[in-house]
Amino acid sequence: MALPPPDPQFVLRGTSAAVHTLHFSCGGQERDVPILFSGSENGFIHVWNLKTHRVDAALDGHGRKSVYCVETMGGKDRLLSQGRDQRICLWDLAEGRTSVTDSVFTENVGFCRCSLLKVAQGRWLMAMAAKAMEEVQVLELPSKTSVCTLKPEVGAKLGMPMCLKLWQLNFGSQPLLLAGYEDGSVILWSLSMGKALSQLVCHQEPVMSLDFDSEKAKGISGSSEKVLSIWSLNEQQNLQVYKTHNLVNPGISDIAIRPDKKILATAGWDHRIRIFGWKKLKPLAVLDYHTATVHCVSFSDHKNPSERLLAAGSKDHRISIWSIYTQT
């Protein structure tokens, strides 16, 4: 007899706006407080203290325009946030400061979250949707120099890029970019060559979110329809569909694979978070807590596996924190 799904470990309230993005920073030292960053529709970035479950600081840097991406750059003191005011802000949060040190004006009015990749100590690559409709631009941070601009071929009606993921096989190898587009296709770009290596049409609707496991060379994408598509990368760097999974209700807004590559979580438009085993995409649990669309899911980076958490932010202004499958 299967157990009923677990309840959230705790629920963070206080954002007073829909939560669009979440990012954990719990991998620090022993004495450091585990932190969760959340970006909301009212332009605030809340810094949640996971010990006290209260907001430590609220950062206002996007002129009250919705923040739809937050990432840390090497620890909780450096934060990157992207908002609908067409800006990407870099924050310095060390020693209690809350100031924007730098910003990038993207001139892009879309919703595509940027993707960060650390390529060397102190050097980052950031991929973001560019000003022109179908293009993706890759910048190097903190220098803000453009590494390359990835343009699809003329006539390929891909639409806007919807989601990006920069990755590299090992630290130091060639960085690659996976981009999901509005027409439902996923393209693998080589940054060094600046051109597409492979294209795969995995959905009939826009690809809302994707995530990739570089060890197994397998990725998963979710769209506004009822299908989750799992694809793999073979030796020739070609994408091919590995399997598909049908859902009960259509619409996925976010997908995240846990760092230990055992499970993955999807955030659904039907207010539910679904947990699958990553190996065979076996459905494991359906977490039904939220009362509106779940916009984002994120796994924590705790060093101690038993403390690992899953966070989900929803349109109903709540962030639910779950502790699930932590024994493995």
Partner: protein, 675 residues
């Protein structure tokens, strides 16, 4: 004692011996008649002191036993020679064949099983039966034989040799009678098909059956039981047909099928239509083994099907029917798409090295769309929305919304009625027709007068389908029923309390007090005998104010044909329904003010239609008359409607031939009124 000592068989044996030596036929006749009539003679003589052995139910089985004994003797004596077996004239096969046969037949069945001499004896036996008894004999055999092959053994080629037998088997049993069971039919037709000589008869029978099945006058005038019987016979015949026979008669089968289908589908009774469809489908599947086959979406009359069992053809038909019904159900199942956890933790250990145990996911179902809460929202969704889920939930929620918000409904009642009348099924909702009808009834009862005006005017308008017109009639009837039914006081109070108004304190209402005081005084002063009955609180009849609005517009234009709708012409189905509806409305209008005028108008309407050809319409007319007689108070009937009543009486009295029960009742009623 004479009887008991087995003298009877001795006598019969004597007769046979004599016969073989050409004795006089008259003596034999007389002797045998005496044997048969022995019980009657004895009881006449003894008048009550009749010993039980002479009672028919004992005597005749005994006689049957004696016959068997004689036959045994004959067969023994026949080993080796063929002797004429004219004897045993089957005096036994007179009016009391049942008891005799119940003894005779099982024995004969056993005896003829392997012994061909016995078979020959049996054949001779039946061949010699005089014509006046042939029918009884044959029927007895056919009814009692356990199977077609047994019948074949017993009767041989009797039907080919004997004219009377042929007539009985091919015409009388099949076409003129219809009381026999399916087993009888199977026996008979199986018997016909078993021998090549008799197969010609089988074909002849089939063609005649098809002719009857396909004739429109038969369909209109013969009772449904007979039509069912004929259809069964046709199906059984079809199953016995061989390939080459189908080939040679394909054309005839096809033509008769087409004609038959037409008359069946034209009928007003759903049973007949169903029967027609079933038979046509089976004929068509027989004659068109390749190529398109006629298919109807028929809801199978299961009883009919189960009767005609054992035929693979019927089984195949049955399966086809089930398939059709099942496929219309799976449409609904697929939409639900319930997610079931396909693995359980034990299984998982075996075929995966993932040791993550899934949680219970049975709650994971499709997200439901919320139904609208306001009537105007419903109207918007039903007229404009492309969102199919929303449309679906709106249709389901509409009736309860209408009933809960009567004030809001009254504002948009005609619009809602219009939308509902034209509403077509967009999704595969279960019970869509019923949902729509209930919503229409709810709208009509909430705001009767304008909506009734609208509906009755639309009944006579151009360009509506028959389904829609019949819908209008059904809705009017259901609403009238609801309105005329006395609702309890509590309900009406509740409906009133929903209005957000300041409620007066009850204490200040002195108008109710006098009633209470008077009641108490009466109670204290009267002595009650017997059990006191619970008095139902009197409630005003809501139908009385609107009965006229329901009734008169429907009668108004029935004789004015439109281009697409001609009540007096082709659309007699709708006319029949209209007449029945008027009867019901009349009946429900009892105790209302308009009832006299309604009754008068209805009797005139009936008078105009009294010679209509469709029996369904005539039945409706009779029920109209009954309703008038029941609803209109006697005084009004006699005063205001004397001429119409007299006319009706003369009409009914003159038509006693075709009158069925309701007509008879109506006639009696009218007679009573005038006496």
């Amino acid at each position: 004692q004479f009887v008991q000592e087995g003298r009877i068989s001795a006598v019969m044996w004597e007769v046979c011996q004599q016969q073989a030596q050409a004795g006089s036929p008259d003596l034999q006749e007389a002797l045998l008649n005496k044997i048969v009539c022995l019980p009657d003679h004895v009881s006449n003589k003894l008048q009550g002191k009749n010993p039980p052995v002479f009672f028919p139910q004992n005597y005749f089985p005994f006689l049957g036993g004696a016959v068997i004994q004689v036959l045994q003797k004959i067969s023994d004596s026949l080993r080796g020679k063929i002797v004429s077996v004219h004897l045993v004239y089957l005096p036994v096969f007179s009016s009391t064949s049942e008891e005799i046969l119940s003894v005779l037949l099982p024995r004969l069945t056993d005896l003829t099983k392997s012994d061909c001499i016995w078979q020959r004896i049996c054949w001779r036996l039946v061949e010699c039966v005089p014509d006046r008894w042939m029918e009884a004999v044959l029927l007895g055999f056919v009814q009692r034989a356990p199977g077609a092959d047994v019948l074949s053994r017993l009767l041989g080629n009797l039907v080919v040799k004997n004219k009377k037998a042929q007539f009985v088997v091919t015409q009388k049993v099949l076409l003129l009678q219809y009381s026999h069971t399916t087993a009888v039919l199977q026996n008979l037709l199986g018997y016909l098909s078993l021998d090549s000589l008799r197969r010609a008869l089988l074909i002849k029978v089939l063609l005649e059956l098809l002719e009857t099945w396909g004739s429109s006058s038969a369909v209109k005038h013969s009772p449904p039981e007979q039509q069912q019987y004929i259809s069964k016979a046709i199906l059984i015949c079809l199953s016995h047909l061989k390939e080459h026979e189908i080939e040679s008669y394909r054309e005839e089968l096809l033509t008769s099928m087409m004609e038959g289908v037409k008359c069946h589908l034209d009928s007003s009774l759903p049973q007949i239509r169903c029967l027609g469809m079933i038979v046509a489908e089976s004929i068509s599947s027989k004659i068109n083994t390749d190529g398109p086959v006629l298919k109807f979406q028929v809801k199978v009359i299961m009883k009919f099907m189960s009767d005609v069992q054992g035929l693979e053809e019927i089984k195949a038909l049955n399966q086809m029917m089930q398939g059709i019904i099942a496929s219309s159900n799976t449409g609904n199942k697929e939409r639900k798409n319930i997610y079931t956890p396909q693995t359980n933790s034990y299984l998982y250990f075996f075929y995966s090295d993932d040791d993550l145990i899934p949680y219970d996911m049975s709650e994971d179902k499709e997200l439901k769309v919320k139904a609208p809460v306001y009537i105007r929202d419903c109207i918007e969704v039903l007229t404009g929305s492309e969102d199919v889920d929303k449309w679906d939930t709106t249709v389901k929620a509409l009736e309860s919304l209408v009933r809960k918000n009567p004030a809001a409904t009254r504002e948009v009642s005609v619009e809602l009625a219009k939308i509902l009348l034209h509403l077509e099924e967009k999704t595969c909702t279960e019970g869509f027709g019923e949902l729509r009808q209930r919503a229409q009834v709810a709208v009509l009862t909430t705001d009767p007068i304008p909506v009734a005006k609208y509906l009755t005017s639309q009944f006579y308008s151009l360009n509506y389908s028959l389904r829609q017109r019949i819908d209008i009639l059904d809705v009017l009837v259901l609403a009238a029923q609801e309105l005329s039914y006395p609702k309890s006081h509590g309900k009406t109070k509740h409906a009133g309390a929903q209005k957000p108004c300041i409620q007066l304190l009850p204490g200040s209402d002195s108008s109710k007090d006098w009633r209470r005081i008077v009641d108490e005084r009466i109670k204290s002063k009267t002595r009650r005998f017997g059990r006191s009955q619970v008095e139902v609180a009197a409630v005003p009849n809501e139908f009385s104010s609107v009965a006229g609005h329901f009734f008169f517009p429907l009668i108004q234009h029935f004789d004015r044909p439109l281009t697409t709708f001609d009540l007096l012409g082709e659309d007699h189905l709708v006319l029949g329904r209209l007449v029945h509806t008027l009867a019901i409305l009349m009946y429900l209008a009892v105790n209302t003010v308009a009832v006299t005028a309604m009754g008068k108008a209805l009797l005139e309407f009936v008078w105009a239609l009294r010679f209509h050809t469709d029996s369904y319409v005539r039945q409706g007319l009779l029920s109209c008359i009954s309703s008038v007689l029941l609803s209109v108070p006697k005084e009004r009937l006699l005063e205001d409607m004397t001429e119409e009543l007299l006319e009706t009486q003369s009409w009914l009295g003159g038509k006693m031939g075709w009158c069925n029960t309701s007509g008879f009742v109506a006639l009696v009623f009218v007679q009573c009124l005038f006496n």
